[in-house]
Point group: C2
Chain length 468, copies 2
């Protein structure tokens, strides 16, 4: 696809830097075309832009050594986890060394009694849950992909459980970070709260590799709830579905998950997963608590849903039924792609105060229909966050431009409603302009001042988040 | 008392700056001794160090104008809310202009449907709750004092409800901040989550006036629970009380508050509040939820407490009984002071991972007893946070030094247990050295780099948090 990428000079990799990396990393350094190409693409619709070399790190010290060398030669370094970012985060637009953290996949310590776990950055979210399974605890943050924890921290990721458990912002307690000078720092402790100085943890969370490289992460984990139940119901229109959610949140019902699936996405899912859901706007709920507590929550929600004309409110308490429903939700992205053969998806990510959710969704839907764009909308609506998947022909610039224009109008709308251009995907390359629109030039200047101070030679993932 | 204050040059206030401020603020500028003295003391045990002038701001623009002038003349500015900080935060150790925000006490907007409220920095936490009372919502963060919201944000404050609702870190959605150049920025939006760029909100939260001046704060607020109940029980020893808490947290019981009161504090409270509590270690619980939910929580906690030998587990569901118990908890500080006539309290604030809480508390208790220091211990133990109040004779340097030595050993112990030197009071003047011990020189260097970048002339509350 032909997204515009900022025109920048691709820097030349100094031979001495390559030699220094070779001396330090031996066969853990690769400059093969295949390897570089693999590390120059993510799940965005950008064409790949590959790095000059890939280093496979096994330790924080490895990362520190590679960064120190790159800093000496003023050459870009880009951390790489699983390559599942969505906004072009890892593209080597100025060239650079990709530091692959996927082999830093050790759990450093499980502190079940404190509800914390410390992992290396390359550990994925599913691996965390496998490793702590026997403790009766779990890690709730679940972006679509089985992303690395380091990558999730770097993009401030969230997912379906965020409405109850928060995002990476709330669930990262401490980090190990490599600075531009190649120094290793620890931000935060394992204490649940602290007023000890500047909150470096949350400065690096969401910094997308532009301020330092995260090599270890201490996470909060949670007791598995005594009981879980799920519910599903359909509505004749989007407004009724969304208003059900708004009222549920406003009443303080502690739902663990509440997901919206529009009628297009339901149609796609029925086809893809051989389901027979009514092809109308749908809500999926999950409740966590005691046996009695989840029943109580579901009853309140059913009552609210009924008041908004819910159709076929169904509970699913059996694990297999719950899994089937949630699996379907997770398949929505791939199911949707099949609605238009040969298409690629442009995925949006705005988030608004919940009282504005129905307005924002409905106005966006009208725009999509007016523009005749094949699309589906799914959303973490309990947080006011939703994604439009617009299916475009990657070889038709006019088609792509039309979709981008809808996105731009939607983001402008969300910002006017005191919302944000990205609820969980991050800025990467794609939202640099929107970020300015959202925060204003003066706040962006503060961000830029921090970037310049912590990365004076602009080696950390240059060209992402903010313009130098 | 004779705490050591870092030896720094008191800067001379330029006459042109004074004239500029007078021209801009007229009778909202004061240089009277009484006014300056009042703005140069907090609730720490430091002797006051007063500013050269006090400006009463009525708007963000007022603050911006004052800051721009001070920046032009490289002269310190210190924000002032209610003067209730505990670590010398607002002492004008290099002289300066105190910007009093207490008249910026307007609620900017209540967005009940989004569970947010935006207030000027001078609004106090009790005022927030008064202003939103009719909405059925409440703001849970409750440090001991009726502090200003701006001050609470600046010190990353918390209190008794943090175990369930989080601290200012989790409950500030966005800020209006005046930068060193006198620019006004807005950090964040009213969306519940966002991945849009560096988390400036959380960088300013806890920065103690050293990076900018917070003039408006958007807070999360919560539906008042359908039901509230409280419980109280005593234990024969500290370990049993603390282990009850540890197990409660580990089981995921969503307690709203759980406070520990040691036997000395109980004795003081009995005297002060004419109560007849057993003079043993005590736990106070509060449960929020549905009618059935709070009963369920209380039953689980009672069972855990019983297993640890709880004495006299009592429920208090009547509001007046609950209020009496919690009022007593809030009076603990003043009650304790009466245990030693003419004394002042040195208050500590460490916070450890909850599994280390019993160890940390017991070792500290042993040290206090060994040193024969009159003291009480109270704690937000659900978060692993506790305060020792050591009653010292302010005129006896040896007495003060002995107490400081106990504190130092305790902080060292807490840091070794992967905890923090301050759970909620902040760094101010008192904990600058401990901060280095906790984070290490390299992480402090990152903080210092940020300070230098955002406040190049060191005008914002100089000499606090980190050494220049």
């Amino acid at each position: 696809m032909n997204h515009p990428i900022p025109t920048v000079l691709r820097r030349e990799m100094p031979a001495a830097l390559l030699a220094g990396l070779q001396a330090r990393f031996g066969d853990r350094l690769s400059t093969s075309q295949a390897m570089c190409e693999h590390h120059g693409r993510d799940e965005s619709s950008y064409d790949p832009m590959w790095p000059d070399a890939v280093v496979f790190a096994h330790s924080t010290e490895d990362v520190a050594a590679a960064v120190a060398l790159c800093n000496e030669y003023r050459f870009p370094v880009i951390p790489y986890g699983t390559g599942t970012s969505l906004e072009g985060h890892i593209l080597a637009i100025q060239g650079g060394v990709s530091i692959d953290l996927s082999q830093m996949n050790q759990v450093v310590s499980v502190n079940a009694e404190d509800l914390t776990v410390t992992v290396q950055s390359g550990v994925t979210r599913k691996q965390v849950n496998l490793e702590i399974k026997d403790t009766g605890l779990f890690f709730p943050i679940d972006p679509g992909a089985d992303a690395s924890i380091g990558g999730m921290a770097a993009t401030r990721a969230s997912g379906t459980n965020a409405v109850r458990y928060g995002t990476m912002r709330e669930n990262v307690l401490a980090l190990t970070v490599v600075t531009a000078e190649g120094k290793i720092i620890r931000t935060g402790t394992r204490a649940k709260k602290s007023s000890a100085g500047y909150d470096l943890t949350r400065l690096y969370v969401g910094s997308e590799g532009t301020l330092g490289i995260i090599t270890e992460v201490t996470l909060r984990i949670y007791p598995q709830p005594e009981a879980i139940s799920a519910a599903v119901c359909s509505f004749s229109d989007i407004a009724s579905a969304v208003n059900t959610v708004i009222q549920t949140i406003q009443m303080g019902v502690p739902v663990a998950r509440v997901e919206f699936v529009d009628e297009n996405s339901v149609r796609a899912l029925n086809k893809h997963d051989k389901l027979t859901l009514p092809e109308k706007p749908l809500l999926l709920f999950e409740f966590h608590g005691t046996e009695h507590g989840v029943t109580e929550q579901a009853e309140v929600v059913q009552q609210i849903a009924d008041e908004h004309g819910a159709i076929g409110f169904e509970w699913a308490t059996r694990p297999e039924d719950r899994t089937r429903l949630w699996q379907a939700r997770h398949n929505a992205y791939f199911a949707l792609l099949q609605l238009r053969a040969g298409s690629r998806a442009i995925s949006t990510d705005c988030c608004v105060p919940i009282s504005r959710l129905a307005d924002c969704l409905l106005q966006t839907k009208a725009d999509l229909e007016h523009e005749n764009i094949v699309h589906g909308i799914i959303g973490h609506v309990g947080d006011g966050n939703f994604h439009v998947q617009m299916l475009v022909d990657p070889n038709d610039p006019a088609d792509v431009a039309r979709a981008e224009a809808v996105n731009e109008r939607m983001v402008t709308r969300a910002i006017a409603m005191q919302g944000t251009c990205t609820g969980e995907h991050g800025v990467g390359l794609h939202k640099i302009g929107f970020l300015v629109q959202e925060h204003g030039e003066d706040a962006i200047d503060v961000m830029r001042t921090i970037k310049h101070a912590l990365d004076p030679h602009n080696i950390f993932n240059p060209g992402k988040v903010i313009r130098w």
